[in-house]
Structures are given as C-alpha cells and as structure tokens.
C-alpha cells in the first residue's frame, strides 16, 4: 500500500504456475477462528484518495483491494480462510467444494451452491461464472492490469490465440473456441485448460479473474460499480475513488451459505472513507476521536509518525508484522555481464544506510533474498547471508581486482528514492565504481517500470535499478519464477518481472523442476535452490525485508493481517469491542 | 461694539507632514457683512481655499492644526463640537466648488444630492425634500426641473452642474456662502450667467458671500471688498475700488497687469508675474514675494529679503504688507481707473 509500484501482475501470473498436490482436494477448514466477536456497529476503513483504480472485479488487482472486497462483496469459487496459519489452504465459497479434476488439472468442475444470490435477489448461476471469466479476457475492461490475459494465456493459449477478446467484441469463431473451453450446465461450471493447472482452486481464491458476473448488470461503464453477492453491499451507485463508499448489510446474503471461517461479518456497516494523504489519515488514527475509535487502515505508518505511535497507549493499537514485500536492486545482466562485478555491487551495498533512508527499523530489516520471510518455505539465500549489511567496500574492491566500472543507477524520482540514491552512490563509489544516477520522472511515458521492462531500457544505459516485489501468494514460486526465469529469446520486454534480463540455464532448470514438483515443500526447496544459484551468480542485490506497521482505533478488535488478505488486515474478522 | 457678521481673526491652518509643517494659512483676518461680497484673490496654493474650508470646519477630519477665531454671528466656530459644527455646515454656511463635475457624486442623481442637503437639516419627507429640490433647481434656472431632477451629473452641462451646486448650497438659505472659484471650469458666457445668478440670489437672500478666485475680472464684477493672499498671508486688503485703482503693493499690481485687456492692442504681450510662489513648507525669511518682486531694489538695506513687512493701514480700510514707501508707490503704474469696471 505504501508504495504501489510493487508488482502484483507477476505474482498473479505465477500463482497459476504452482501445481500442488492440494489441487484436487475438497474443502478444508482449519478452524483457527470462530465467531466469538461482538456484532454490530460501524467500522470505518481509512484510505488515501485516488489510490483505488476500479471496483469492477475484472479490474481489481491490488492486494489490499482484493482482500477487502473478497470479504465484503465479492465471493469467489473458493477463498482462503481467516487464520494466522502461514500456510492456509483454500476452502469452498460460492462453490460446494474446492473443485474436482480427474485429469491432473486439465479439466476442473465446480458446482455452485443453489441458494446463493446477487444483491438483486436473483440466483448466482454457472453461467454467471462463465460470463465473469469471459470478461477477464477483455484488455479494455481490465484497465491495464493484463491479469486476465497474461494468466489465462498460460493455461488456455488456444482461446487467446483464436483472438478471443471477451464477450463484447469477439468474433463468433473466437467465441466458439472460448465456449469449448469454458461452459456451464445449470449450477455446474467446467473449465478446460490446454495445459494442466494444478493450483487452480488457489488461483480462484486469490484473484477475481474467475469470479462470477451478472450479465444483466453489465451496462454502461462498470468500472466503479459493485454488484455484491457477499454479506455487505454498496449503498451508493458507484464507488468514489476520492471519497470512498458505504457498505451496508446485503439482505439477500444468506450466512448459511457461507462459513465464519471466511466471513464473520460482525459489523453492521463498513464506511470506506478516503482522505487527502497519509498524514491526515494517521493524525486521525492517533487522535482516536469519535467514530475514528472504530477506524483502521491498511496503510503503513509513515516514518514521521513513529515517535508518536511508539509511546503509551497508542503503542497498544499498533501491530507490526512481516510483510510479503521485499525491495532489492535489479542488475541488468545484459550490460553487467561479469558475475564478479555483480557480486562486487552486492557486497559493496550499504543496506543499513538504505533502511535508515527508508525510515529505519520500523520500515524493515536488511534482507538476504528477493523472497519475503512471510512466504512459506522461505530460506535465507546463502549467497547473501554472510554479506555485511553495512557494506564492505574492501571485499568489493578485491572482487573488482582494481577495475573501476562505470555504472548507471536508475530510479523513479520520489522523495524517498532521492534519499536512497546518495547512499547507493556512496557505497558503490567506496568500492571503486563510477556511479551515474538516472532519475525517471513520475509523469514519464512509459512510466518507470515500463522503461525498465524494455530490453533496451528505453534507449538508456541502465546497469542497476531499484525494484520491489510482493509475494501476494505465499509461495516461493510467486517470487523466484517471475524475477529469475529467463525471458524468451525474442522478448523485447521482460516477461513476468525479469526486467534485469537475467538468464541462467541452471536456474531455469531448477525452476522447471520446482514447477513440476507435486509436493509443495519439495517445490519450495527447489525454488530456494534456484534463488541460491542466482544469488551466487549476482543476479540481484537484496536490500530490505519490509514490515507491515499498522495502527487502528481503540475500539477495533479482530485486527488480523493474514495470508488470505495478503497480510493486510482481514475484513472478515474485524469487529468493534463490546465494552466501550 | 458689535462684531461683524463674519469675523475671521488671526486664522492659522498648518498641516504637519513628515517633511515639516506646511503653513497653508498664517494669521489671516477679515470680515464680511450680510449682503456683501468679499473677494479673496491669489494664485494656486496661496491659502485661499484652505482658509475658507476652515470656516466650514472641513479640516476637522484631517491632521490640520487650526487656530485663531472664526466668529459667525458672535459664535466662534472653532470652539464648536463636531456635532454642533456639522449642524451649521450646509445650513448657516454653505460652499460651492470649482469643478462641479468632480464635486458632485457621479452615482447619485442631481435631485438626490440637492434634496439630501435639505433633508439633513430639515425633518421632512423624501417627497417634500424632492419638491424643494425641484423648486431650487427651478430657481437657479434649470429648465424642466421636474424631469432633470432625476438626471445624473454626467447628463448635465458644466453650467447646469454649477447651477445645481448653487441650488444645493442655497437650499437651506445659508447666511454665508463661500464660492471657491465657481466659474473657473466654465466657459466665458456661462461664467457670466453663473455670476449673475449668484448676485441675484445674494440680493434675494441677503447672503454674505466669499468669492474665492484668481480672476480679477470676477472680483471687479462682484466683490465689495478684496483680500489678496500670497503664501498663506494677506498682502493687501481693501475695497475693490481701492485695490483696483490704487494697488498698494507690487503683487496686487502684478495681478492686475496680468489680466488680458480687451481694449488694448492685441499684439501687446501679456505680462505675467515672473517666477513661482514660494514653498509653504519653507517660506522665505523676508517678504514672501521678494524673490519675484521687480521693485525690491527700491528698498534700502536689502530689507525685503530679510524682514517680513507688517500689514499696515495706508488709508482707511486699506491694508497692505509691503516695504515700499509712499514715494515708491508712485512708481507703480496702475491702469487708468476708467478702464476698470467697478461695481
């Protein structure tokens, strides 16, 4: 939330690549949470204006937005339960179970519950699911996320290749191809993929791509509309990206069709209130006055507020946890070809200094991998484990053997990055590098990541550039694969998030083995191995393992950042304390 | 002994400024009786308007320091409170100004402005005040006053505006009227009409009139007495006849000679007084007129440059402020008396 550029696209794309043995399992619950909270009242969610980019399920792709809507308004085939378990498994939501596949993930069948309804009272049918999926193929609808197409093109390439562009504009021929792959018969929905998709139930839980959509609701612009099938519904006709919206109880929602493991739905109302900036937001949470006692936010406490929230009663209202986000420096493997030089950069970097520039210990700690500690199967990357987090210019000099390579460090211009660059420059220069910073303006077109994605870096010399990644999905694969798997030979832009154009057959081989592994633990080990090989090869420079540092009102309870909500506070468990 | 109707005694008006005190009027005295006209003559900045404004108490809202006595009907106006003065202003003493266009408010009708002067001193209805305004406009010779009463100043000609100003000034039948260059901004034919009107009205209401002007022609036509001012002081004071036929100091003579004479040769150049009036901030130590005086060589010991002459009576009712002797005066060459029209 704090810095949005962290990609989700790649994480989503990769979520589907994971094939686990869980694939064909039925519903399971771990029962860590119960409906013990106090019902009623109005909870205020505080956010910053202008950050939401749409509420059409085809559009939503930020982790915090998926987290909120999954619990309030958009139920899917499956969902992840409310739990502090780091390795939760998806459970059935609108479907009667988490799906069945008899052919190792090629064909998936789900049966939709009979008595689930849209907010207008009409039943949710299998057709609605097929229709919802079809919309995910429309690039103009998904508002630039490309999630649907990227993701589906891996598993149903023949549909994409037939030129299927969603229900609105596709030719009859393309529609016929789509209809062969995805169809409904009453309450039964069938998904036929070209390639096996073992992890499909998990993907369905973590994304809105396969969510149902009511065709009759698809009228005019739907970008800011919400047609609820969950416990709450939006009172306004449209979500206001600048002001928010009000979510009240949905009378058509039947709790009997749902599980309290997924949605406790205790408050009577959720007010989404968006404010001008995070200063105002945290001023209000700190003041804890009036209805703000029942308010919370998924934004991280800014560094300027650390001194205020660390003392007295306020500290009791904070929650610090490991975030799925890491930040690191990409190395452009096309321009920095010598692994010793790449390692020298890693050894020289003063991570401690960078973390101070980011905001200190509360912001995060020095990291040793691109993978977050919040990801299951996380292992420290041995290649970086022994590096001095304050930087070791002497060791770097040794690696360079007297050479003084010229390197250009690219970054998106922002107040924080402007503080980071001097630290990076100093630590590299101490090792003998000749450093040129290259700032990309916030309004550049293409944007910072667009330019970095390009193989030629938009015609600029770029050797090292700032980046960050979130494991929206708690699996090693969602990080290692997009960043370290070789791009196709003819790719002009990085695929996934491999913008450094790193390519190592040994790493690719380990990744393929990991993807093919049927045991998730075994897969995780292979990915960790791939990460270790790439690290030793100087593929990237890890910088910081970020923290989540949340603040909430004094009457808020059930505040739980969990895996299901991408480590944002879970809307399904939150409630207002009974004694005020 | 009774005091004259208006008696200004030793009037001083000083304006303190960051650069020093501007002595706009310094020790001025004169009298006016009802039905009579005093002409005050002088160049711009000689203090004629400032001293007259003092009679209306118009300096009260400024930083001006006013002292001396202004007796009107045995009451010293300078001792009155603001409220008492305000009640007399426009009622006992009225004033008309040089440029009727700027002196009239552009946003209000003539009728409003004339009637306002009446209503402020008389508890009457708007309607009655308006009727009275129409009556006065009629009296000052405005044609179709019932219609013109609703006109704005810019819809009037210059002469009509001045007539309206006169109507406004006289609407309360004041005992004293001060006319500050009332004809200067008007063309010659209109000037004569306005002066005639003023004289008619003066006769009708037996008003005491102070006519401030730089135009000796006007003085010759209307004034009974004349006060010549220079650098904030009186330099000559007497009857109109005395001053115009026997000016007793060079400045008065200069004023007379600078008037174009229709009877003389058109090729004869005008004879303006050379030089400029002195600064009132830092007046000369001697005679204020000395730097411009073409006769000062006649006076011994450089006296005009060092000593300020006193105001002295050289004939009954004829005062002057000059170092020249009776003998020197003969060297002044006044115009033949018959060429000056004396009322």
């Amino acid at each position: 939330m704090k810095k949005r550029p962290i990609a989700r696209l790649g994480a989503i794309a990769l979520a589907g690549v994971v094939i686990t043995s869980l694939a064909a399992c039925g519903a399971s619950t771990d029962g860590t949470s119960g409906g013990s909270g106090n019902a009623g009242g109005t909870v205020t969610y505080l956010g910053v204006a202008g950050q939401w980019e749409g509420t059409d399920p085809a559009t939503v792709y930020y982790g915090n937005e998926i987290a909120a809507f999954r619990r309030l308004v958009y139920r899917g085939l499956t969902a992840l339960p409310i739990t502090d378990d780091p390795n939760p498994v998806p459970v059935a939501d609108l479907a009667t179970d988490t799906g069945t596949s008899d052919d190792g993930g090629l064909t998936w069948t789900f049966t939709i519950k009979d008595d689930v309804k849209w907010e207008d009272g009409s039943p949710i049918t299998g057709e609605d699911f097929v229709y919802g999926l079809s919309r995910s193929f429309d690039e103009t609808l998904v508002n630039g996320t490309g999630v649907g197409v990227t993701y589906l093109s891996s598993y149903a390439p023949s549909v994409v290749e037939a030129g299927y562009t969603g229900p609105f504009t596709s030719t009859d021929a393309a529609k016929a191809v789509f209809d062969e792959h995805f169809f409904a018969d009453g309450q039964t929905v069938t998904y036929k993929f070209d390639n096996p998709w073992g992890d499909f139930p998990s993907a369905a839980a973590g994304l809105f791509t396969t969510d149902p959509y009511q065709a009759s609701f698809d009228d005019g612009s739907t970008l800011w509309e919400i047609n609820s099938n969950g416990p709450y519904m939006m009172e306004e006709d449209e979500f206001d990206a600048a002001q928010g919206a009000t979510f009240v109880r949905n009378p058509e929602y039947d709790a009997a069709t749902d599980s309290t493991d997924l949605r406790q739905a205790l408050p009577d109302q959720f007010n989404f209130e968006l404010v001008a900036d995070s200063d105002v937001l945290f001023q209000r949470l700190v003041a804890d006055a009036g209805t703000d006692k029942e308010a919370f936010s998924d934004a991280n406490i800014p560094a300027t507020f650390y001194s205020q929230v660390e003392s007295g009663d306020i500290a009791d209202r904070t929650l610090k946890s490991t975030s799925p986000y890491t930040r690191f420096l990409f190395i452009n493997s096309l321009t920095v070809t010598d692994p010793d030089v790449r390692r020298a950069l890693a050894v020289a970097l003063n991570k401690d200094g960078m973390i101070q520039a980011y905001g200190g210990d509360n912001y995060g700690e020095p990291s040793t991998s691109i993978v977050s500690k919040a990801v299951s199967g996380f292992e420290e990357n041995p290649a970086f484990a022994d590096d001095n987090s304050a930087g070791d210019p002497e060791a770097a000099k040794e690696l360079l053997g007297g050479a003084t390579p010229e390197i250009t460090v690219a970054y998106a211009i922002s107040p924080t990055n402007e503080k980071l660059i001097p630290v990076i420059q100093q630590s590299f220069e101490a090792a003998g590098f000749i450093v040129t910073p290259l700032g990309i303006a916030p309004d550049a077109v293409p944007g910072y990541y667009g330019q970095m994605a390009a193989k030629d870096k938009n015609g600029q010399k770029v050797d090292v550039f700032l980046g960050g990644w979130a494991a929206d999905w708690p699996a090693m694969s969602t990080v290692v694969v997009p960043i370290l798997r070789s791009n196709p030979a003819d790719a002009e832009s990085g695929v996934g998030f491999n913008y450094g154009f790193y390519s190592n057959p040994e790493v690719d081989d380990l990744i393929e083995q990991g993807l093919a592994a049927t045991d998730p633990a075994e897969g995780a080990k292979l990915f960790a191995q791939a990460d270790a090989v790439a690290g030793a090869d100087g593929a990237y420079i890890p910088v910081v393992q970020q923290n989540n540092y949340f603040l909430y009102g004094s009457n808020i309870d059930g505040f739980l950042p969990d895996v299901a909500s991408s480590f944002y506070p879970d809307f399904g468990s939150i409630f207002i304390k009974s004694s005020k | 002994m009774t005091r004259p109707f208006l008696s200004v005694e030793n009037l001083v008006v000083h304006f303190p400024t960051p650069d020093g005190v501007v002595r706009a009027t310094d020790g001025l005295s004169y009298t006016v009786e009802p039905g009579k006209t005093l002409g005050i003559v002088g160049e711009s900045g000689s203090g004629k308007s400032v001293s007259s404004s003092a009679i209306l108490g118009l300096h009260r809202n400024t930083s001006a320091q006013v002292s001396g006595r202004i007796w009107l009907n045995d009451i010293d106006l300078l001792t009155l409170s603001d409220k008492e003065m305000q009640a007399r202003r426009g009622k006992d003493v009225a004033m008309i100004f040089q440029d009727p266009l700027s002196a009239l408010h552009p946003y209000y009708t003539i009728g409003d402005q004339v009637a306002e002067a009446y209503r402020v001193h008389n508890k009457v209805s708007k309607k009655a005040a308006r009727d009275r305004a129409i009556e006065m406009l009629d009296r000052v010779g405005i044609p179709n006053p019932q219609l013109r009463v609703d006109d704005y100043p810019h819809q009037f000609s210059g002469g009509m505006r001045q007539r309206a100003m006169i109507a406004m000034a006289l609407i309360n039948d004041p005992q004293l009227l001060i006319a500050d260059e009332p004809t200067t901004a008007l063309d010659v034919t209109v000037q004569a009409q306005i002066l005639d009107l003023l004289q008619d009205l003066q006769r009708e209401f037996n008003t005491a009139l102070i006519m401030i002007t730089h135009d000796l022609g006007v003085i010759a036509e209307v004034a009974d007495d004349v006060l010549v001012m220079y650098a904030g002081r009186a330099v000559e004071y007497g009857t109109t006849k005395q001053l115009l036929t026997a000016p007793a100091m060079p400045y008065t003579l200069g004023l007379i000679q600078s008037v174009p004479d229709l009877s003389s040769d058109v090729n004869e150049p005008l004879r303006p007084i050379p030089g400029n009036p002195p600064s009132l901030l830092d007046p000369p130590s001697g005679c204020a007129f000395a730097p411009r005086c073409t006769f000062k060589h006649l006076v011994a010991d450089n006296l005009p440059d060092t000593v300020m002459p006193e105001l002295e009576e050289i004939a009954p009712g004829h005062l002057r402020r000059c170092h020249l002797t009776e003998h020197d005066l003969s060297k002044l060459t006044p115009k033949p008396a018959e060429e000056v029209e004396v009322v």
């Binding site: 103009t140 630039g144 005019g220 077109v445 | 209306l56 426009g90 009239l104 704005y152």
Partner: protein, 344 residues
C-alpha cells in the same frame, strides 16, 4: 445594453472556441488517453495495441473534428467505430456510452464522460467558491473600511500588519493547520467533509463541512481585500464629492457609507468578479488539502492521468466562468455607475 451583452457573449464564445483549439493542439502532442488502459507495466507495444483499440491512433485533425462534432451533436464512446460495431453485433449496445451535446469528451481513466465529471466536481467547487467568497467579501470589506477610517492609528497598523502575515502564509499551511490541528488534534471543530446540498435539511451539514476549507481559501483573499478596500476607501474619501457631502453637513457616517463606500466598491466589483471566476475553475490547493473533489482536484488528477479530454473540459469551464463573470461584472458596473449605463 442588451446588444452589448449579446456582443460580449459572442466574443466570449469565439474566445472559447479558439481556446479549445489551442489547448487541444498543445496537449495532444504528448498525451494519449490510452495510457490509462495500459497499466503500470505498460510497454510500448501494448500501448500501441490499446491505442488502436480505443481509437486514439487517429490524426490530430481527425480527432479534433470528432471532438468538435461531439460538442455540437454529441458522441458515442469508445470512439473506435469498429469497436462499437462489434459491441452492437454482440448485443452489448448498452456498454456504448452516449455523451449528449455539448459533449466535452470521455475520460478513459474514470470511464465517465467529461460532462459527468464536471457536473460532479461542480458541487464542491461551487460550494467552496460561494461560501469563501461571502466570507472574504464580508470580512475583507468590513475590516478594510475599519482600517481606512482609522488610518494611521494603531488599529489600522494592526490590521495592515496582520493582513501582510496572512497574505504571506501559503494556503497549504493554513489548510493543514485547520485540518490537522483545529479539526483532528484539538477536536475544536468537526472533521470537514463535503456534504452535498440537495435539500434544505442539508444546509447545516453542508455548512459545517465546508466552513474550514472555505475559511482557508477566504483568509488569503480576505487579506488582499482588506488592503484593496482600505486603499479604495481612502482614495474615494479624498474625492471632491466627499468634500461636498461634508460641506452639506452630512454626518460622517453617511459620508462614508453613502458617498465614500459606493465608489470604493466599484473597482472591488471587478476584482471580486474575476477572483470568483478563477475559483470556479477550482481551488487546487485547498481542495487537495481537504480532499474536496472539485474542479481543482479533478485538474490534478486529469494531469496525472494524461486525461486530455478532462483537461480541455476544465479549460473550457474555467474560460467560460471568466467570460460569464466578466459580463456579470459589466452589468453590475452599469448598475453601480450610472455613467456606464448605455440606456436609461
């Protein structure tokens, strides 16, 4: 007078047309609304594809023609004819967005017509402009007059001094102070939120919500208007007709309010009219600080999103506001100053 107003309106209209053309030419050189559909990880190839799909790949003259036609007869979106044809063929006519004349365009990032966005933004902006205008005119003129009649005294000096301070304070600082200290930290005033004014019962919440932002905006203008008023009153009180009014024996109060103030207000009307017009285009800083979604916030957002149609729409509305206010000022002038009246 009528002919004069008609002439002014026609000239204003012509100015708007020229302005549309200039803004269109200026912005279109480096703006492509399709960028909003392309996402954070937009690559040039993907951008090209979406640009074509949405119909933003046409030449500038073609786009300008289509835009102009939209102003006169309305338009349908997306602008790509083939795309719309496909929508109709597939039975999705209802996803075509019709924008009635005068159609100012379509915001790709918000997926709303510019007209809709402007109407929505007009509420907060108009509310803010009107309330702050009333505050600043009332207090600005009042304090200015008080300062003028006390010219040179301590009260005048205090007023003049404090207006300098207020005028020097950035709006951002005042707004932040009101919001973060007065409203949030000290809880002296309810947290300001914009509440739309739809029925009489809404007046109180509307006013409560708007007072702090309106005050923020008003303080800046108030400081200026105190000084303007003071200067104009002093100037007008030195006019000849004021001397006339005094010589009539009018009480000083009447002299000041009836004769002095009326002419002092004339130049203020011009200033106030134009300042008010400038506010109709949105108060960017105040709206940003208080998260008021008015024209100013819309402009910031449109600029960040390269949302050309919205920017053009804002320019047109801003220009129209200035032109209309100019005409209103002219009419007011005629009302105040009889010399300006063309006919009686």
């Amino acid at each position: 007078m009528l002919a004069f107003i008609i002439r002014r309106i026609l000239v204003g209209f012509a100015m708007i047309v020229v302005m549309i053309f200039v803004v269109f030419a200026l912005f279109f050189a480096n703006g492509n609304p399709a960028i909003n559909q392309c996402g954070k990880y937009c690559t040039p190839e993907k951008l090209d594809e979406i640009t074509g799909l949405l119909g933003y790949d046409k030449s500038i003259p073609e786009q300008f023609t289509a835009f102009s036609a939209g102003l006169v007869v309305g338009r349908d979106f997306p602008v790509n004819d083939e795309y719309r044809a496909a929508l109709i063929e597939n039975g999705y006519e209802n996803r075509i967005i019709h924008c009635a004349a005068p159609c100012l365009g379509y915001s790709q990032s918000d997926q709303k017509t510019v007209n809709q966005l402007l109407v929505k933004a007009a509420g907060p902006t108009l509310s803010l402009a009107i309330v702050s205008f009333l505050i600043w005119i009332f207090f600005g003129v009042l304090i200015g007059v008080i300062a003028a009649i006390n010219k040179g005294r301590w009260l005048d000096r205090v007023v003049v001094g404090s207006t300098l301070v207020v005028y020097a304070l950035p709006v951002f600082v005042i707004g932040t102070f009101f919001l973060q200290y007065v409203a949030i930290k000290w809880q002296l005033y309810p947290y300001p939120r914009f509440e739309p004014l739809k029925e009489p019962a809404d007046i109180l919440p509307w006013l409560t919500g708007i007072l702090l932002p309106a005050l923020t905006l008003a303080l800046f203008f108030m400081a200026a208007y105190v000084r303007y008023t003071r200067a104009f009153v002093l100037e007008s009180m030195s006019e000849d007709y004021i001397r006339t009014a005094r010589s009539k024996g009018l009480p000083e109060r009447t002299v000041l309010f009836k004769h002095g103030l009326r002419s002092a207000l004339t130049p203020l009307v011009t200033l106030a009219g134009l300042d008010f017009a400038s506010l109709l285009a949105g108060a960017i800083i105040t709206e940003s600080v208080f998260n008021y979604q008015g024209m100013g916030a819309l402009a910031v957002k449109a600029n960040n999103n390269h949302d050309l149609p919205v920017l053009i729409g804002l320019v047109i509305v801003g220009a129209a506001a200035v032109i209309v206010m100019n005409i209103i000022v002219d009419i007011l002038y005629a009302y105040i100053d009889p010399r300006v009246r063309v006919t009686k």
